[in-house]
């Protein structure tokens, strides 16, 4: 019963969502919206569970006091609990809550995102080293695309922008659409396996 009940629920809810997507029915639409709302509530409980895991792991690190780990874990727990208390007491729109969010969290996120540029450079260096025909084609295509997208490229040769456009719209788009169709059908097959309970590793266990 431990696996059967969740499987039956997944099947009923999955079929309901599919039918409500394709058919016009106020009753079905209402039922689907209700289930979606339940999903939000379950996700909120899951966040509570995940937060407990986070607190347990970092509390353990603080008590162990190994290296600088305890300091990082302390900072995490302090900011997490502090913001939670502030948010519950004053609300997430309160200026103090907003100040700490905007002053610490937003720049932190932006900083990590900004690092993408450097990661692209190092990945590109490795990918573009000519080791075989594939990487040689990759290097030439990338060089043309780069030249097509910078003003100096057009000054060097007026056809670079047109070549870049062709690369993006013909070989690149053809490959992408092929992958998209394959992934779409693969997603449907994966959904069927989950709905029919054939694939159930997500419930724990071997799954078949």
């Amino acid at each position: 019963m431990r696996q059967e009940l969740p499987m039956i629920l997944a099947f009923i809810v999955g079929i309901l969502m599919i039918v409500s997507f394709f058919f016009t029915s106020e009753t079905l639409g209402e039922a689907a919206r209700t289930v979606e709302n339940w999903g939000v509530i379950v996700a909120a409980f899951a966040l509570g569970l995940a937060s407990i895991n986070l607190i347990q792991i970092h509390a353990k690190k603080i008590t162990r006091g190994k290296g600088l780990d305890w300091l990082y874990s302390g900072a995490l727990l302090f900011s997490m609990i502090g913001m939670a208390v502030l948010g519950i007491a004053k609300g997430p729109t309160h200026p103090t809550y907003q100040f700490w969010f905007d002053a610490l969290f937003v720049p932190g996120q932006a900083t990590v995102y900004a690092m993408t540029g450097f990661f692209i450079a190092s990945a590109a260096y490795r990918a573009f080293r000519i080791r075989n025909l594939d990487s040689a084609i990759l290097l030439v295509s990338a060089a043309i695309l780069m030249l097509a997208n910078v003003p100096v490229g057009e000054k060097i040769w007026s056809q670079f922008p047109a070549m870049g456009e062709w690369l993006m719209n013909v070989p690149n788009l053809a490959g992408q659409r092929g992958m998209l169709i394959g992934a779409g059908i693969g997603g449907i097959a994966s959904g069927i396996r989950v709905l029919l309970g054939i694939e159930r590793t997500y419930l724990g266990g071997s799954g078949s």
């Binding site: 058919f23 899951a46 990590v112 190092s122 069927i192 396996r193 694939e199 724990g204 071997s206």
Partner: protein, 259 residues
């Protein structure tokens, strides 16, 4: 109750695709012999975990950063199915497995998947719940936390299967910096090039969805992969029909699609 306008063709196409998949599953489960092509990325997982065992370093696994209720849900389920296989191997080889999670609702599923895998391998004593870690529901906070874990714990294998966005390249590059053997897979088209550039093996698009069936060896599941190929043939046929009819100036097919 009528079909929503604009979704009629999609509905019938879905019925045909589902029919192909169910038919193939039935045929294969009845004993029809089929062979599916090798997926090198999945075959390399054992090698990566073996390498981690020899080096005495952990394995890092991420089932993507997508949830279980949106369009990327099948990728998350595939990520969890591969996690089951990986956890069995790490239990067998006695190598620590660190699973990092971004979505809170995926956390209990990942925890249960790993726990059950260790239990079924008879290694429940080796299961460490503190290695299944929820880090943050915020994308870049999660990414920053994974950077830290990778830098401190230096995994010998970095396995990432599921839905990824802008953090994909960052995580894979940090994995490369710490010398981890990297096997990745995603159906997010914009992230596939980044994974290809920075990983040893990459599962592209549909390979990720086929992974669970491929690893299980279950005839029903393998049948669904055969069904996928049948459905692809139908789509190819529709594309050819579309190209031909449009080339002759007919809008019949476009009208049919928009019904």
């Amino acid at each position: 109750m009528t079909l929503v306008k604009g979704r009629v063709f999609t509905f019938w196409l879905l019925i045909i695709v589902v029919g192909c998949i169910l038919y193939s599953m039935r045929r294969v489960s009845k004993g029809k012999e089929v062979s599916i092509r090798k997926i090198p990325g999945l075959d390399a997982i054992e090698e990566a975990i073996g390498r981690a065992t020899e080096m005495g370093r952990p394995v890092h696994y991420c089932p993507g950063i997508g949830g279980i209720s949106a369009v990327e849900a099948p990728q998350t389920f595939s990520g969890l199915a591969i996690l089951n296989y990986v956890a069995r191997l790490t239990a067998r080889f006695d190598v620590p497995l660190i699973v990092t999670i971004r979505q809170p609702e995926v956390f209990p599923m990942a925890e249960e998947t790993v726990r059950q895998a260790y239990l079924e391998e008879g290694r429940s004593d080796a299961y460490d719940p503190s290695n299944i870690r929820f880090l943050s529901s915020q994308q870049f906070a999660y990414a920053a936390a994974v950077f830290g874990i990778m830098s401190r714990e230096k995994p010998a294998a970095n396995l990432m299967f599921g839905a990824f966005w802008a953090e994909a390249l960052m995580l894979a590059e940090v994995g490369a910096e710490v010398g981890a053997m990297q096997i990745t897979g995603t159906a997010q088209l914009s992230q596939v090039p980044f994974f290809v550039a920075s990983s040893d093996y990459t599962l592209i698009g549909e390979e990720l969805f086929a992974a669970a069936a491929y690893l299980s060896g279950d005839s029903n599941q393998i049948g669904s992969i055969v069904g996928q190929d049948m459905a692809k043939l139908i789509v190819v046929f529709l594309i050819v029909v579309g190209v031909v009819t449009r080339s002759f100036g007919s809008t019949f097919f476009e009208e049919l699609l928009s019904k």
